[in-house]
């Protein structure tokens, strides 16, 4: 028997049982270019995060009195602990960047238009869940940065007033808020993410990839979804290598045990625009996040046009560019100013 026919027999045996041939549907050539693979690369990043996260969770103590110490133990005593934590942190940054690029691509190509409005909403929910994961992960550090992030949880509860019960420490006064956010980070949010992700992928499969904005001749080579996954896996490897290199060149330490009642840190880059809004408007600035997500959800309603090609995207692109400019401007403003106390 030749080697190739041996592989063929193995494939047939596995496929008969797992119906893997269903993944070999055809995918147009443009859908295998980097802009259209970003979603799958985000998923690859998520795999890295879950893997390193599970490992870290074996050594982390989610109690305010012991959390900081447990992270120091991970860095100094657990074999490869510093590297695994470094990969987790850097992969988080990289995954969020890839996710934002994916959102920009979907928005720019108008892939939220009919019949994909519901999938866009699912995607917005996924974005919110990913940001919540990044936020809760920041709290879990339990240094000065972490505790000041936690205090924003309480502030958010106060802002929502009657509807803010869940986010307030008073909701479950016997359990430290850190412990509840740990539970969210390792269980509640990943579960929510998984449910939304399955829905998201199911809908993408049902609708098919959105039409290309520029018509091109059919490519000579036929691509299947397997190539799409393979490309994502390749970029995922690159992301893992980058996260590993960054964790070695720029190791992330751990701050002193946190003290409540002062505000001397600024949030990570992702939340700087929100911090800028707080600098300008006080705690009411947090509503900016709500307004941003409401606008995102409204995008398929605001832009119902069916004009084909890039020329039909002009107005939407202008609006998107304006929003990005506003966010970048707020972020730069927050980055350049001194830390400001928002709660006193």
């Amino acid at each position: 028997m030749t080697p190739s026919s041996r592989w063929k027999r193995l494939w047939t045996a596995v496929d008969a049982r797992l119906a893997l041939h269903n993944f070999l549907y055809e995918v147009p050539a443009y859908a295998n270019t980097l802009p259209y693979v970003l979603g799958a690369i985000t998923l690859a990043g998520l795999v890295i995060l879950v893997g390193t996260g599970i490992l870290l969770g074996q050594f982390y103590v989610p109690d305010p009195g012991a959390a900081n110490q447990s992270i120091r133990a991970i860095i100094t005593q657990v074999p490869a602990g510093e590297v695994i934590r470094g990969i987790h942190i850097w992969a988080a940054h990289l995954t969020v960047i890839v996710l934002l690029l994916h959102v920009i691509r979907v928005y720019a190509t108008g892939a939220y238009r009919f019949p994909r409005e519901a999938n866009w909403a699912v995607g917005v929910a996924l974005l919110a869940t990913m940001l919540a994961l990044f936020y809760t992960g920041t709290v879990l550090r339990w240094d000065q940065l972490g505790i000041e992030a936690l205090e924003h949880n309480t502030a958010f509860a106060a802002l929502l007033g009657v509807f803010g019960g869940w986010f307030s420490p008073a909701f479950s006064s016997h359990v430290p808020l850190l412990t509840r956010l740990y539970m969210a980070h390792v269980s509640l949010l990943p579960m929510l993410f998984f449910i939304l992700l399955v829905t998201h992928i199911y809908l993408v499969r049902q609708h098919g990839i959105s039409a290309a904005l520029v018509r091109s001749e059919p490519a000579a080579v036929r691509y299947t979804f397997a190539q799409h996954l393979k490309k994502a896996a390749g970029y995922g490897c690159i992301m893992l290598g980058l996260a590993l290199a960054l964790s070695v060149i720029f190791p992330d330490g751990e701050g002193a045990a946190p003290v409540s009642g002062i505000e001397v840190t600024k949030p990570p880059w992702l939340f700087l625009p929100l911090y800028g809004l707080e600098n300008l408007f006080g705690l009411q600035g947090l509503w900016g996040a709500v307004i941003f997500f409401l606008w995102l959800l409204a995008v398929p309603i605001l832009d119902r046009g069916r004009a084909p090609g890039w020329s039909g995207r002009r107005r939407a692109l202008a609006a998107g560019a304006a929003v990005m400019a506003a966010l970048t401007g707020l972020g730069m403003f927050a980055w350049l100013t001194q830390p400001v106390a928002h709660f006193h």
């Binding site: 120091r72 009657v162 307030s168 490897c237 290199a245 751990e254 002193a256 946190p258 009642g261």
Partner: protein, 154 residues
């Protein structure tokens, strides 16, 4: 036709009113308990130290807290002469010396049960060190990036 429209509008309005009433009946969250500035020297010194441990150190907040600590009535667990030394150092904007004095001002956990674990008061700031293990990791990273580029190319 209009009557059914009015009826359904009225039903919708009634439902909205009941919903809003029901929601407002939920126990209201107490307004965010803004942490009041503490009055005991121990917490104030810990806050001043935390302000100095971030980069860049926040000398203004630390000075404010140290001054409050100097006026505090409750000075249990704090070595006040060290706090005064820290205040002088902060006046000259010497954050490093001030942080050292403040740490000395906090009685160590080894000496008394109510003391603080001094190791937790210092940040862990690992730096890139050129050891063989580090180079191995960088080589592994390069390998991953290379392999990934190959897989993604075809």
């Amino acid at each position: 036709m209009i009557r059914t429209r009015i009826r359904s509008a009225a039903a919708g309005g009634a439902a909205a009113a009941i919903l809003l009433f029901g929601l407002s009946a939920l126990p209201a969250t107490p307004a965010a308990q803004l942490p009041a500035t503490p009055r005991d020297a121990l917490t104030l010194v810990r806050q001043a130290l935390a302000a100095l441990e971030v980069s860049p150190p926040d000398v203004a907040v630390a000075t404010e807290r140290v001054i409050k600590a100097l006026f505090a009535q409750d000075t249990r667990g704090v070595d006040m002469p060290r706090v005064r030394d820290a205040a002088q150092a902060l006046g000259a904007e010497d954050a490093t010396a001030a942080a050292a004095y403040l740490m000395q001002a906090l009685h160590p956990a080894e000496a008394e049960p109510s003391g603080v674990d001094r190791t937790l008061l210092v940040p862990v700031r690992p730096r890139f060190t050129a050891t063989p293990a580090v180079y191995e990791l960088l080589a592994a990273a390069a390998l991953l990036i290379g392999a990934g580029s190959l897989i993604a190319r075809k």
